[in-house]
């Protein structure tokens, strides 16, 4: 008995855990890395040796789960990967937003969050003279793919265009998925999105706020595939399932797609 499961099982919720308090103290150094789903109020650890990560809170010695998700332990930090929920902006996250308002010295960008993000004049790579008409650079309705620069506690969100990958999006189509499913769409080391890009021949930009920009001939198939990933996000071996699905779909579409893929490669 070197390792124990900290998450309570279906049959016994909190009662058993309080009874096991004494045993846990000596044993909770090894926590099983399981894919078990934890719910708000689940006891994760009863020790002061651990730190609370995302989605957890501490009450006395006990660390509880705050949200519905999957438990993850990295060294001494316990955190939860959410399975649902709203997008909470974090610095360095890429977002896709629409310019909602052009001000005297800044732009307001709506990205599906109650608070609009601000793009200050200083966040643009070009030099802008004081008093210049800012709509020359970005006007209302433009779509931006940009990283978040800073987020304050009162949800003042600043984005910047001074980044290699930041750009204005032209053409294409935007679909939105739940922001908690974005990691699955990207996949481990970007395998999932790379495969969708390669097989459909589309240009795809995935943002952390759940908006995905797709441009290319096979746009409908790419959209369908991403929606499928979102739906099956909890399944194991999803990359292979999607790979098979894409191959079959492309076969059904026949030579046409093959040709268009070839032309794009050239």
């Amino acid at each position: 008995m070197t390792s124990i499961k900290i998450i309570p099982k279906k049959e016994d919720t909190t009662i058993k855990n309080t009874n096991e308090k004494k045993e846990n103290k000596t044993e909770n150094k090894d926590i099983e890395q399981s894919n078990k789903i934890v719910l708000p109020g689940d006891i994760l650890v009863e020790s002061i040796d651990f730190l609370t990560g995302y989605g957890t809170y501490r009450d006395g010695k006990t660390i509880y789960s705050k949200i519905l998700g999957i438990l993850r332990k990295k060294e001494h930090v316990i955190s939860i990967i959410p399975l649902s929920g709203p997008y909470s902006p974090k610095p360095n996250d890429f977002i896709i937003g629409e310019v909602a308002y052009v001000g005297y010295s800044n732009w307001k960008v709506n990205f599906g969050h109650p608070n609009d993000a601000t793009l200050p004049m200083s966040g643009v790579p070009e030099f802008i003279e004081n008093g210049a008409d800012l709509s020359k650079y970005y006007k209302r309705g433009d779509l931006l793919f940009a990283p978040i620069d800073s987020v304050t506690k009162n949800m003042i969100i600043q984005i910047t265009m001074k980044d290699k990958r930041a750009r204005k999006l032209f053409g294409g189509k935007i679909i939105s998925i739940s922001s908690s499913k974005v990691p699955r769409v990207i996949g481990k080391d970007g395998t999932m999105i790379a495969q969708i890009k390669n097989k459909t021949g589309c240009v795809i930009n995935v943002s952390q706020n759940g908006r995905i920009w797709i441009k290319g001939d096979n746009e409908p198939l790419a959209t369908k595939t991403i929606k499928m990933v979102e739906k099956l996000s909890h399944k194991k071996g999803l990359t292979e399932i999607i790979s098979k699905y894409l191959d079959e779909e492309l076969k059904q579409m026949g030579i046409k797609t093959q040709k268009s893929e070839d032309t794009e490669k050239q």
Partner: protein, 240 residues
């Protein structure tokens, strides 16, 4: 009052069994389904006996109306409504004195559990529609609401479940049904947090002696446990 009771409801307990065949400390059958409304951020459907409730969560999103905004925390907006066809007599749609009161107590029962300070200046809309009412609608609604909130990914200290303890034929009973509520003596809904069993809602319609109240509380603590398990099972099943 006693003269108004129909003959078949005069004895609600026979041989330690209630009119629907339950024992005194037995809950009605519970059925919970998660994610029934695709357009909502979180939703749950619950059946406890003949009481059926649909709960939906929208948000956290921009606060509306704007003047109700709180810059430090989110505002929980609860709307409890009995649908017109939910009882044998049509319920007039729209807010009433009763639905306003229940919306308020439900809000208080859930507010203390949600980490509202994580979403400053935003609003969370919680809609509770009673599809069929057969006593204990507020308790059922609270049980459904916390499942819907968890499904919406809103941070909470724990789940909240609620049940009612009542007095029928001078005896204490758990989770009253329609006739027991209508022709019994007392009805006391109780809501508790799953982690520390703190009480977030307690109302009483009728009266209890001091001893009765104490036993009622301990009965509620025991009776609420299967509800937490049902909530947990429903949420885990949804992601399986």
């Amino acid at each position: 009052m006693a003269s108004n009771i129909p003959e078949k409801y005069k004895t609600l307990i026979k041989n330690n069994k209630r009119i629907d065949g339950r024992t005194l400390d037995e809950l009605r059958p519970v059925k919970i389904k998660v994610g029934v409304i695709p357009s909502a951020d979180g939703s749950a459907y619950i059946e406890i006996g003949n009481t059926k409730v649909l709960a939906a969560v929208h948000g956290p999103k921009e606060m509306f109306p704007r003047h109700m905004i709180n810059e430090d925390r989110a505002v929980l907006n609860v709307r409890y409504a009995m649908l017109p066809f939910s009882t044998s007599e049509r319920v007039r749609p729209g807010p009433s004195r009763r639905s306003n009161e229940i919306s308020k107590v439900t809000r208080h029962a859930l507010e203390s559990v949600i980490f509202l300070e994580e979403y400053p200046g935003m609003g969370i809309d919680l809609t509770l529609d009673i599809i069929q009412a057969d006593a204990g609608t507020r308790a059922t609604a609270i049980t459904a609401a916390s499942v819907a909130l968890a499904h919406a990914g809103i941070p909470m200290k724990g789940l909240v479940a609620a049940t009612a303890i009542g007095k029928i034929n001078d005896r204490l009973a758990v989770d009253l049904n329609g006739p027991e509520d209508n022709f019994g003596q007392t009805d006391m809904p109780i809501a508790m947090i799953s982690t520390n069993k703190n009480i977030t809602l307690l109302q009483m319609d009728g009266d209890f002696s001091k001893e009765e109240f104490k036993t009622a509380l301990s009965m509620a603590k025991k009776a609420i446990e299967p509800l937490f398990e049902a909530q947990r099972a429903a949420l885990q099943k949804y992601y399986k």
